[in-house]
Symmetry: C2
Subunit: 376 residues, 2 copies
């Protein structure tokens, strides 16, 4: 009867999807362990038989995703602990970012360590989309070469852009870059050298929020990415909230002063015009107050109790904090009942590119079968 309750409203489970599920279960168990678990420990934690665990572990080792250290007695200070661990020489993730005044690329290995970082400061606004993509393509090639020199195979890439991205990777609009309907994956694949590397595209604030989540962020928080534009990533219960069409988090275009400064988007008084990087470099008090007004709206609407300030806001956090908190105290209806925690992001300016690379790693860990079968 216990099988009945589980399968009553579901289609039969195919054998191949059972294996895929259990491969992910074993890999996630290793990834989430503080110590290096043994095969027996994984069996105890997952409820799988030891024979099943051993077969799955063998497959994951053969595929380069896990390493196993013998339980031999310690013979030297540098000897790693016995047990299973994610392989630092396993498939890696490539993070890419096109932002308004810089490009970035980073390689993260399967354990989450940053292995390579590349940054190119250059205003992208005078460039065409194709030119910007050619530049990030060149940076991607440098990163891939550096990974290869390390013996790392890059399994996939994710590109962060400051704009609205459709599920198929087309950038529908990136107001500050003046992009409209740019097929970034197609343009990147048309460049020499990137071959058939899978390339996902996502909003930079969404990826930065995921980066912050992976770096130990709270389960529920609003991540605000302060660049020339301002974006936000909304994390609810450990998941990114994307909205109906995937276009959530456009906090930069929340109205702060209805009859205020004209914005590039066509409206007046958008937050971006008071707290974007160019505005706040001239008036930090006005920026803090405008941020506080917009963030109060977020808290009143969503009852989110943690706000993380990232991007260019992170280093300015000590100078922004009091002004933002004054508005929150005044404008959040529940301010007297429960505190709102305001903090600087832990990752700083490279949160989005690290979040992009991390998203590739997360996908490998969530679905190792696709990688082992050669479809990832």
């Amino acid at each position: 009867m216990s099988a009945r309750i589980m399968t009553a409203s579901r289609a039969p489970v195919r054998q191949s999807s059972v294996r895929a599920h259990n491969l992910a279960l074993v890999l996630q168990t290793v990834a989430n362990s503080a110590d290096r678990p043994s095969r027996a420990g994984i069996a105890a934690e997952t409820g799988l038989t030891r024979a099943t665990v051993s077969a799955l572990v063998d497959d994951l080792i053969a595929g380069g995703l896990l390493t196993e250290h013998d339980p031999a007695p310690r013979t030297g200070a540098g000897r790693p602990a016995a047990g299973l661990a994610l392989s630092p020489s396993g498939p890696a993730g490539l993070g890419l970012e096109i932002n308004i005044d810089y490009l970035a690329a980073t390689v993260i290995d399967l354990t989450g360590d940053v292995r390579h970082r590349f940054l190119a400061q250059r205003d992208q606004r005078p460039l065409s989309p194709a030119s910007s993509l050619a530049e990030i393509g060149a940076l991607a090639l440098q990163a891939l070469e550096a990974a290869t020199a390390d013996g790392l195979a890059v399994a996939g890439a994710a590109l962060a852009v400051p704009g609205l991205v459709a599920p198929n990777g087309i950038v529908r609009v990136a107001p500050n870059l003046d992009w409209q309907d740019v097929d970034a994956p197609a343009l990147l694949h048309a460049l020499p050298g990137l071959g058939d590397l899978p390339i996902a595209v996502d909003n930079e604030a969404n990826l930065a929020a995921l980066g912050e989540l992976r770096a130990g962020g709270e389960d529920t928080f609003l991540y605000v990415s302060g660049e020339i534009g301002i974006g936000a990533g909304i994390v609810l219960d450990g998941e990114l909230y994307r909205g109906n069409r995937g276009w959530s988090g456009e906090i930069g275009h929340v109205t702060v002063y209805p009859d205020g400064r004209p914005c590039r988007c066509g409206a007046n008084g958008c937050l971006e015009q008071y707290a974007g990087q160019e505005a706040f470099s001239t008036d930090l008090d006005l920026a803090a107050s405008a941020l506080g007004i917009a963030l109060s709206a977020v808290v009143n609407l969503l009852d989110i109790s943690v706000i993380v300030l990232g991007g260019a806001y992170a280093p300015e956090f000590p100078r922004l904090r009091a002004g933002i908190e004054a508005e929150l105290a005044r404008r959040v209806l529940t301010a007297g009942l429960a505190p709102v925690t305001l903090r600087a992001a832990t990752l700083g300016a490279d949160a989005a590119v690290r979040g992009a690379a991390g998203a590739v790693i997360q996908q490998l860990i969530d679905d190792p079968a696709a990688f082992l079968n050669g479809t990832a």
Copy 2:
């Protein structure tokens, strides 16, 4: 192995919880059917055996939750179709509402039909919390008597209030009623006549949003309840989004004009001061514009594509629409890419009290075992 994947990371399923799950599965199958399903039809749809379905159906009929009509040939125009249906004489739900200038009570039967409605127009602001609760208690008694006269047993009540409610039912703050930390369930139970009737308390906009959802609303929408105060219920993928502490949806205190009219909450320029019932009765254009500014913030932040205007906004919808849509077109970054649907609520002013009664019914349908065991 298919049982293994299902139970790998879970505790063993106890026999009693299997029965509870399957009772709910059968009842929900009947509730969600357009026609009256037969026992065999339920077995086919759920994957349960016919013997199991029959035993569960017998229990649900004995408990008064289901009725079964014989598959005899039609002999008259009024004869109901054969098969199983929710029982209109089964346990009923009592909805209660205290709003700023009225009180309401409604009885809904298990099929969702409204059986009784009571409304008392009276400004609650001069009254103490205890007096308001005594008045709604008196209305509740009238409703219970009417239900009893109908042969209906009320299984529970839910009270809608225009304020922030803690999970234990204490109203932390209701600014327009001037309530603070009012233990509504305890005060109601201290009145004669309500006995040990279970009474839940929730925010009126949340309950109204649930009412709209049950009345056939979209899977994801923002419900805006325009009364003297303004609240919102956020429905995402068919579920109410409550936020970290259960205090989401305070759209009435979203800042529209940062240096604008002082609000009862202590801030300046809150939406409520421009689009609350007292404000919009004097200037509909200003109200529409202010609503449009605040709703643009919601859409920019949450990428919600359906907005439902309820409460006092519903009858004014034709006069509010153009002004709101003009602001949405101007201020929503994605307005040119995808439409936002703005519509009037289907339930009108009684959405909250109907949503409250409906929440009681929904709980019965989600967990019939608790009712049958006498714990609901």
